[in-house]
Amino acid sequence: MQRGQRAIFRAMEATHNNARARLAVDIGGTFTDLALDWRGRLFTTKVLTTVKAPEAAVIDGIRQILQLAAIEPVDLGVVVHGTTLATNALIERKGARTAFLTTAGFRDVLETGYEKRFEQYDVFMDKPPPLVPRHWRLPVPERITADGAILEPLDENAVAQLAAELQAQQIEAAAVGFINSYANPTHERRVRELLRDALPDLWVTTSAEVSPEIREYDRFSTACANAYIQPLMAGYLNRLSQRLGDEGIACPLFLMMSGGGLTTLQTAMQLPIRLVESGPAGGAILASDLARQAGLDEVLSFDMGGTTAKICLIADGTPERGRVFEVARMYRDLKGSGLPVRIPVIEMVEIGAGGGSVARVDGMKRISVGPDSAGADPGPACYGRGGQRPTVTDANLVLGRLDPARFAGGKVKLDPLAAEAALTRDVGTPLNLSAPWAAAGVSEIVEENMANAARVHAIERGKVIGRHTMIAFGGGAPAHAARVADKLGIGSVLVPTGAGVGSAIGFLRAPVFYQVVRSRHGVLADLPLDEINAMLHAMSEEATALVRAGASDAALTESRQVDMRYVGQGHELVVELPRRALQASDLPDLRGAFEALYRNSYGVTIPAQAVEVLTWSLTVAAPTATPDTVDETSFEETPAQPVGTRPLFDAQRGNAVDVPLYQRDVLPPGARIAGPAVIAEDETTTLVPEGWTARIDGRRYIAMDKGGSD
């Protein structure tokens, strides 16, 4: 693994002087997006995902993009890869025959979960079935207590017998999860050794290795999810690596993780669960990088695709990070309807609001949009592929925001009459609204839903949302960005180039880093500092070894954090720790930092109450590329030249109004556009509403400001 990390560093370093090309590949459900950076020029393309053998589309796309850039495979310096394969295997339940070995008496933890219903009023709701059926959840006599003491030793004979059963049942992967293993993982490790000796071909995951944190259900669930996708992911990654070699691509391949960092092929095969949601993570990394380039302190990234919208908060160029994620939700917007995984993730809120989200009228005569999506097939009604239900894309078409002939670069011809008919039938008629009004209602509601999700997300984190700058990307966002910003009191929006393949571009900007997490519970005022410092030291060594190895001269950055709360509370706040051993004199400062965060979030503090600490995390990162600076003064502001007009429905006037239409790829830096206007490009459309002004900046990004016209 050390050799691999050294390779990452060298490859990323090489890219700093643009000696060789960097390629990013993002496999999504419908499209595989590619982005290539060659001597400062960006090339992008999309190919259809080949679900049965995803590497086929990857290779096909690579051939196309190399041709586009007119370079050879040997010119590639690094390939960065992200994929929804891991997520899809969990959603579609297409993983391995997996067994779960657990403390005797606890084999149903996976099934009973949190023991609550996530939908209060739905008496027909079902809970997500566990990844491992009960007959493969195998009890092992052993017991460790909360302080790590061995109450009952591991029964090694029982493990040997289970190994025979695993073989008989043709089990491909096994997860091992014991109660309190976060405090003492020796029994889990011993079982792994015994299984490996008996069954060398079996993949084995231990719960303390994937997530050494208290709370048995979350930890066991994470371990099982990892085991479940491991044979599949390892097989795919091996095949991909082979095919790349066959193409003459000898440069290193790195994988994008859900936490926003890169890792080697080998780590990815060991901990494939860390690859879920890498696409959205790439989008957040892109927005973070843009925030750093533009010197923006507080950014809200708004990524709207075909099925969902993702919102992430970025402070000082760093996306907010978390450690819990829910994968494969049975009901898209309902917390608790999926499987919890505890891994480093970029904290974001994802709601069922995308271009394909379906609109309808409910029993209260309210327009509702999503969370279900028409997807790519049959797709929105206007695709003319048999979709009958009206979607957000249909609404945008009827409102005049989309050019029916140029959607997705002309690859999909849109049918405005089909969109109108669907909107009229499902929304207009029940509410006695004409088609454009129904469309305006759908658009307004989906924008309201996204704004509400963003607002609650920000408030839960003690942030004032109106101070943020929005960065909008993904095919759907630029059409809705200004209106969502309006609702949030945000006055400035940035739409980068290549917005339609934002995640892949983000992969090119991801840092190499590694995060280590440990649970160590105690009251802040009497922490055993020697013990804590020893633990932090070990964590630092582990993470540094993974990132540094060979990068002797690079100044790695390390950050340390701890989760704190008032004794008795159930939710923690994350407090930064100094990057050195803790001293007794730090403790009052830590309390102070916690209380400041608490006050910021909730307005009050509780001075007399003790504060406790729970989980410690430590991250080591290699340096990220320094932002390119663009000399903005060299671009003279000029009014932009429209290429025509577009009839845009105006809800204030109640009819369509011709507004200027601009073509993005011919707008020079410095070009200025006053709303209302539409800026079209192949992969998306930006709407500049009345009262907003757009300007093309030095990087050819669209910078929209509210009221900035004169």
Binding site: Y121, H135, T145, N180, D362, N452, H571, V604
Partner: protein, 553 residues
């Protein structure tokens, strides 16, 4: 429709969505700042927004059914005590009176009037279960509400922006955990503040002088949707009965449900008189769970507000166990209250085509345990255990899942980290789900011992369905009855406090859910799958389900 009307119609919908987001945000803030596992793990809290007439316009989805109607009703009592024309900007009101709030002393309701440019435009309210209210603590053993803790009548917590320190001191002096209690009260205040600020933002954004038109829009549409939903239930009067273990004596509940074009009326006439112990369910709480049961089946998608709730009414004679009068003890009101949806389902089953789910374990079992710690000192812990949910007319019941409560489990590792207790088993119980064409949800068995060389105790006050298991429907079998005691020792019979000697192990078997339909008609593959998984024993598969040719034991 004229152009301006169309615009207004769309704006109304947007504002309605916004109001729901406002109360949800209020509840989320509360969830993160509340102390005590009941509020935070169980989400035993709620938030709502009201027009100046006191009509509830929106209620957070986060929260438990116990607050559905109680929150809607509580506001009227406040307005009666503090008329609108006496309310001033910066005022905050509170009470924990069980009959004026949400049914027991543990829940404090906090109300804040919202002022915009000096004018009262709305009210926001929130409630949550506090860590402690003094008295005998969380127990059904009180013989009157006076023993159960401190009761605060309607009071000003803030008066024109000034905190009522006297009131806080009185409360703090009367509870065991004064710091947490103060924290919870202030958390309620600040979550209301968040709601106020957001509402004013919305009125500014849409330039609304008043929310009255919005209120009419919400209430009219909701009421109409509810009436339409009720119209799909055949009119008539349906009757149901249910027997429960009760505390000192069995409890009989009787319900008649009358469905008409105007609404659904529930009447508990004939039910047992109030208990001398604290399992009585004040009317507001009985209403909440009764209406929750109705809404689940009749109109699950209609949001809770004064419009949708108005057509659903409940009557209960005074001094019955579902309408006890002061000073009856009420702390463990959920023991009776959380059983009411099953009784309502029993009536609806007669009315609804296809039927309604079988009975469930119902009220949650609160495992309140305490004892000595090995190194000195004592521990007190409250863990929650749940049984099986009744089978649905087209599906098996959910295993080991709270219903109707929204409570969730506390992880074993979390309980063990704070106590000397060791859970040796927490596992689904074979054959505990009532047999049927669709099987009832399985319950679980929990086994607990202590590492301390000292006994520990467990209070059994909330353990019901030991004598009266959850019944099946359409010849479906009942779920298994609850049971608890010492492994290799006695099975406990009474609801009192029991002692587990050092070295002994406590077992608790929760009640299972009832089955639906004839077990012989169950899909044979489903029976075989159940045997393979161990949900059903081979004997039961043969004897009850009539499965032939399997001998997997």
């Amino acid at each position: 429709m004229a152009q301006t009307d169309m615009l207004e119609h769309i704006q109304m919908q947007v504002m309605w969505n916004r109001l729901i987001a406002v109360v949800e945000e209020q509840a989320q803030v509360l969830l993160r700042t509340a102390f005590g596992s009941v509020a935070r793990e169980a989400g035993d809290l709620s938030a709502g927004i009201y027009d100046p007439q006191g009509r509830m316009l929106a209620q957070a989805v986060t929260g438990t059914p116990g607050h559905v109607n109680t929150m809607a009703a509580a506001i009227d009592h406040f307005i009666e005590r503090f008329p609108l024309d006496t309310m001033r900007e910066g005022d905050v009101y509170t009470t924990n009176d069980p009959w004026m709030g949400t049914g027991h002393l543990f829940d404090f309701v906090v109300v804040t009037p919202v002022f915009r440019t000096g004018e009262l435009v709305a009210l926001v309210a929130s409630t949550c279960h506090l860590v402690d209210v003094g008295g005998i603590g969380f127990s059904a053993d009180g013989r009157s509400v006076y023993e159960e803790g401190i009761c605060i009548p309607h009071c000003k917590l803030f008066d024109a922006g000034v905190l009522n320190e006297t009131l806080l001191e009185v409360i703090e002096t009367n509870v065991r955990e004064p710091i947490e209690v103060r924290g919870d009260l202030l958390a309620l205040v600040s979550c209301n503040n968040a709601g106020c600020a957001r509402l004013i933002d919305m009125m500014d954004e849409f330039d609304l002088p008043s929310i009255a038109p919005l209120a009419e829009f919400i209430l009219d549409n909701s009421r109409r949707a509810m009436i339409e939903a009720i119209g799909r239930v055949p009119a008539g009067t349906y009757r149901g009965t249910m027997q429960l273990d009760g505390y000192e004596a069995p409890v009989d509940l009787q319900l008649s449900m009358t469905v008409s074009a105007d609404g659904i009326h529930l009447d508990y006439t004939g039910s047992s008189t109030a208990s001398p112990f604290g399992i009585n369910s004040p009317k507001c709480y009985s209403d909440a769970y009764s209406i929750f049961g109705l809404k689940c089946i009749v109109a699950p998608e209609v949001p809770n507000n004064a419009g949708s709730l108005a057509p659903l009414t409940v009557a209960a004679p005074k001094d019955t166990i579902v309408n006890p009068q002061r000073p009856a003890p009420v702390t463990a009101r959920h023991v009776i209250g959380q059983m009411l949806p099953d009784l309502v389902f029993g009536c609806l089953h007669q009315a609804i085509d296809g039927g309604v789910q079988a009975e469930s374990a119902g009220s949650i079992w609160v495992l309140a345990m305490s004892g000595a710690k090995p190194g000195g000192g004592r521990f007190n812990t409250m863990s929650v255990s749940v049984g099986g949910v009744g089978a649905r007319p087209t599906k098996d019941g959910l295993s080991s899942t709270a219903f109707p409560s929204g409570v969730g489990a506390i992880p074993v590792e979390v309980t063990e980290a704070g106590t000397p207790l060791v859970f040796r088993r927490r596992e689904l119980l074979t054959d505990s789900g009532g047999a049927g064409r669709y099987r009832g949800g399985l319950s679980q068995i929990v086994e607990i011992e202590s590492r301390a060389d000292q006994p520990f105790t467990i209070s059994a006050a909330t353990f019901d369905r030991i004598q009266n298991p959850a019944r099946g429907r359409e010849v479906g079998a009942p779920g298994v009855a609850g049971r608890f005691g010492l492994i290799d020792g006695e099975t406990f019979q009474t609801k009192s406090l029991h002692t587990i000697p050092p070295g002994d192990r406590l077992f608790v078997e929760l009640p299972g859910g009832g089955g639906f339909g004839d077990p012989q008609a169950r899909n044979r593959d489903a029976v075989r799958d159940d045997v393979r998984a161990g949900y059903v024993s081979p004997d039961a598969a043969r004897d009850i389900y009539g499965l032939e040719g399997t001998d997997e034991s």
